[in-house]
């Protein structure tokens, strides 16, 4: 590994990186070695450590352990400024362009051409050079006077890439660049990336679309649980093999199987459609059933959950909850129909960090503990204590602020909030993200118990072994459509991942650009 010739050929080597955040291990010895002049894919499921790794490379985080080697030089500490000086540029998912600027101004911000001998901007040069550069790299006839806010997402991305190219970078890092692009735009991007590679630029390409990795990358490193599990040639390695490398398989005993009785229909949707997000989603959940829902970023799975809970409006289709037809128009309407949402962003939406465990637990059900407009704290507190015990919430008493709890225990409080309300239909959005293994098992147990009691539970998760382990059925959304339904006991995480990433696209040769 450390021979001089090999190192000399590497544009970049991150070795044995370790990074902790508040006791949670994000990286546990991850290595990424990128050869000069290649397109190198970086893949892994959510939480595998991709973004932590890239933020270390960007100089935004400092690793706890490990070495960073760029062009054969080892760097102890990297700041964002150093990284830029070394010629490493990042094309971020969010486009960092000022909306009210013209294309030319956005391109040249920070290195504006001036009128000879004067302190003033040379607006003509800005316009002409911008048009020339865009035409040269992209064959794009974009009026340089167009405002950024008038551009499409793809055009903005092109402006962003062009900005990076002005600095003559040696390494370009693309972070999920196609998340907001359509197929045609993505194809233009791929052509461009190949051309950049031909110009000798080294490219790191982060994506969870396996078909893109296969079509574009010379090598690909697969991350899992904060470690690199393998570096492969994606053109000779099957998508199924890559998918199986991405998914851990040794934790199946974690999932307690419970036998719930399937009862009446609890939630039915008919041809539910939200333009641009998902189309014709029909789903049928019965009491006592645990149904899984998964899909990549932008697949519409997240939007479906938001629509079910009344956070966003659907354009057409029916939602029937416990026999009552009608799409919930607001979260309040959804809650009134005994729907409970445990959101992914628990710090933002799920719990109020500054409030105590008790306050959070009874927040959604204060009416139960209120008489003549006043809270009856003794009844409230005995209920809270009951839930703390039932969910095994590790807290310093019921008055401890939720802020002081671990991620897993915060999530339990978010669940307790709805248990206290005696909801019958639960929608759990990534219920175990950022939760330690022990709490995960407890949350799985709780979900099982809820089902036994006759609740219907919809789990949106990108943790596929988890989905296979705890659900009865799994629906996969791909670019807005439910492409397949799996019976959990008869499938594997790999099969679901292949479906969700569109790995099947390549084989069938068709582009499933739906909606």
């Amino acid at each position: 590994m450390s021979s001089a010739t090999e190192t000399g050929n590497l544009a970049l080597a991150l070795r044995q990186l370790v990074k902790h955040f508040n006791g949670v291990q994000a990286l546990s010895g991850a290595t990424l070695e990128v050869e000069r002049g290649t397109v190198h894919g970086l893949i892994g499921q959510n939480g595998a450590g991709k973004s932590t790794l890239i933020k270390i490379l960007a100089g935004l985080y400092q690793p706890d352990e490990g070495t960073i080697e760029i062009d054969g030089v080892t760097h102890e500490r990297l700041t964002a400024h150093d990284v830029e000086k070394l010629g490493i540029h990042f094309i971020h998912q969010d486009r960092l362009l000022v909306p009210s600027f013209t294309v030319g101004e956005a391109l040249f911000l920070g290195r504006e051409p001036r009128l000879a001998g004067l302190p003033f901007l040379d607006r003509r040069a800005i316009r002409r050079q911008a048009e020339k550069i865009l035409d040269k790299y992209f064959g794009l006839k974009l009026p340089a006077n167009a405002l950024i806010s008038e551009l499409t997402t793809a055009q903005k991305q092109i402006v962003q890439i062009t900005r990076a190219l002005l600095d003559k970078p040696s390494i370009l890092v693309f972070d999920e660049p196609t998340a907001a692009l359509v197929r045609r735009e993505a194809d233009i991007l791929f052509d461009l990336i190949r051309r950049l590679r031909a110009d000798g630029i080294t490219i790191i390409y982060i994506s969870h679309y396996l078909n893109e990795i296969e079509a574009l990358c010379d090598r690909a490193t697969i991350l899992r649980n904060g470690k690199d599990v393998s570096t492969v040639d994606p053109r000779t390695t099957s998508a199924a093999k890559i998918a199986s490398l991405m998914v851990a398989r040794d934790i199946e005993e974690m999932f307690p199987k419970t036998a719930a009785t399937i009862g009446k229909p609890a939630l039915t949707t008919n041809a539910l459609t939200k333009a641009g997000k998902f189309r014709n989603v029909s789903l049928n959940m019965r009491e006592g059933e645990i149904v899984g829902l998964t899909g990549l970023l932008g697949s519409g799975a997240k939007d479906l959950v938001r629509v079910l809970f009344g956070l966003e409006a659907a354009d057409s289709g029916e939602i029937v909850i416990e026999g009552e037809n009608g799409r919930p128009r607001s979260p309040a309407a959804a809650v009134a129909r005994r729907l409970a949402l445990v959101p992914e962003d628990r710090r933002g939406d799920g719990v109020a960090l500054g409030l105590s465990v008790a306050e959070n637990t009874t927040l959604a059900s204060l009416k139960r503990f209120t008489r003549f407009g006043f809270l009856q704290s003794n009844r409230e507190h005995s209920e809270v204590d009951r839930l703390i015990e039932q969910l095994a919430i590790k807290t310093n008493g019921r008055f401890a602020p939720v802020r002081t709890l671990s991620g897993g225990n915060q999530q339990k409080v978010a669940l307790a909030k709805w248990l206290s309300r005696q909801s019958s239909l639960y929608i759990l959005d990534e219920p175990t993200v950022g939760v330690d293994i022990g709490s995960k098992v407890e949350i799985y147990n709780l979900i099982g118990k809820l089902a036994e009691r006759g609740a219907a539970i919809l789990v949106l998760s990108s943790d596929l072994p988890e989905l296979v382990g705890i659900t009865d059925r799994i629906l996969v959304l791909y670019r807005g459509v439910v492409t397949r339904e799996f019976i959990s006991s008869e499938t594997t995480p790999d099969a679901i991942l292949a479906e969700a990433t569109g790995a099947l696209d390549l084989r069938s040769g068709e582009h499933r650009n739906v909606v």
């Binding site: 960092l96 362009l97 302190p119 970023l297 939007d303």
Partner: protein, 340 residues
């Protein structure tokens, strides 16, 4: 996880289009409506007060608006560099008090026997110092500008009282006489000062790289940082520039009123109205120096017209308040989000 709600544009969402049209309409109504309102104000006053639309009166309005205009340009610079978010964005509430203290320093120095060569730098330094205090409060301590400059405003107003014992300090020098006289075309010298100052400030803000960066820092600090710009230094600079404007306005007000007077704080509302109105006079709906000059004139013409028609001047500040509400409401709608 904002990216989770990232849209897939080709999926051609109807919702976005209608939102886009709504935003475009709001923008159009703002731009078109404001110019129309300006024209309507001018027409109404020229019809009802014959003297209104004469070169002499327009010159007078410009002269009377010079102090307001210089302060509003200072505030405009702060709003550009701090972003136009009404709650968290850039604002300098201390400008009117700054004018009061700078004028008091200037007048006191003159009446203590120092010449203009000491008094002018003294007044400007006072303004800059206040700007530095604001900059430190906002950039170093991270206090919301609305609160930071409110506090500084009170401190400055207090200092002015201490300095002047709440009395009028009269001052007269040759320089002041020139400032308060009439120049070519029988137009007040103060009017020329306003125009020249606007041209200078406009040249820097609208035509130099520094100005472009100021916009970037205010509108999208992350983008500015990604472009390697020293965001904090630029924001601090905007407050210092605004402080300098306060000092300059102080000198102008001594010229206009032949001394320092109390009650500078009453300028605050007109200054805020003027700077906020600036937005509606630009194509991209961003604050500009030229837009600020136009809105200074609009506010000036309103006040002047009311005087010519013998309508109570107290009504003017009511109208200014309504204008603030309208402009802020319209720009908030245009950005697609309310303050709450």
């Amino acid at each position: 996880m904002s990216s989770d709600i990232d849209t897939l544009p080709a999926y051609g969402s109807g919702g976005d289009t209608t939102k886009g049209i709504g935003r475009w309409l709001a923008g159009f109504a703002l731009r078109g409506g404001s110019l129309l309102a300006f024209a309507a104000v001018l027409t109404f006053f020229s019809v009802s007060a014959p003297f209104f639309f004469t070169l002499g009166n327009i010159g007078n309005v410009l002269g009377q608006s010079a102090i307001l205009g210089v302060l509003a340009i200072g505030l405009t610079i702060v709003i550009i560099g701090g972003g136009s978010n009404v709650v968290k964005g850039g604002i300098d509430l201390s400008l009117a008090a700054n004018l009061g203290l700078s004028a008091a320093v200037y007048a006191t120095l003159i009446s203590a026997g120092y010449g203009d060569s000491v008094a002018i730098p003294g007044a400007l330094a006072t303004g800059v110092l206040i700007g530095i205090v604001n900059a430190i409060a906002v950039v170093v301590f991270g206090i919301v500008p609305l609160l930071a400059t409110l506090a500084v405003m009170n401190v400055v107003a207090g200092l002015e009282l201490v300095l002047t014992q709440n009395t009028v300090v009269s001052a007269s020098t040759d320089f002041l006489s020139v400032l308060s006289s009439y120049g070519p075309f029988d137009i007040p010298v103060l009017a020329y000062v306003l125009v020249i100052f606007t041209v200078l400030a406009g040249a820097v803000v609208q035509f130099t790289p520094l100005g472009l960066r100021l916009y970037a820092v205010g509108e999208f600090p992350e983008a500015a940082r990604a472009a390697g710009l020293p965001v904090r230094r630029i924001v601090a600079g905007s407050y210092i520039a605004s402080g300098l404007c306060g000092g300059l306005a102080g000198i102008l007000s001594v010229a206009y009123l032949s001394g320092s007077t109390t009650g500078a704080g009453e300028m605050l509302l007109p200054v805020v109205v003027t700077a906020l109105l600036s937005v509606v006079f630009s194509r991209r709906l961003v604050p500009t120096i030229g837009g600020t000059l136009l809105s200074t004139l609009l506010v000036g013409f309103l006040t002047n017209g009311f005087q010519l028609l013998n309508i109570s001047s107290t009504l003017v500040s009511g109208i200014q308040g309504v204008l603030i509400l309208l402009v802020v409401a319209a720009t908030s709608l245009q950005h697609g989000k309310g303050a709450v």
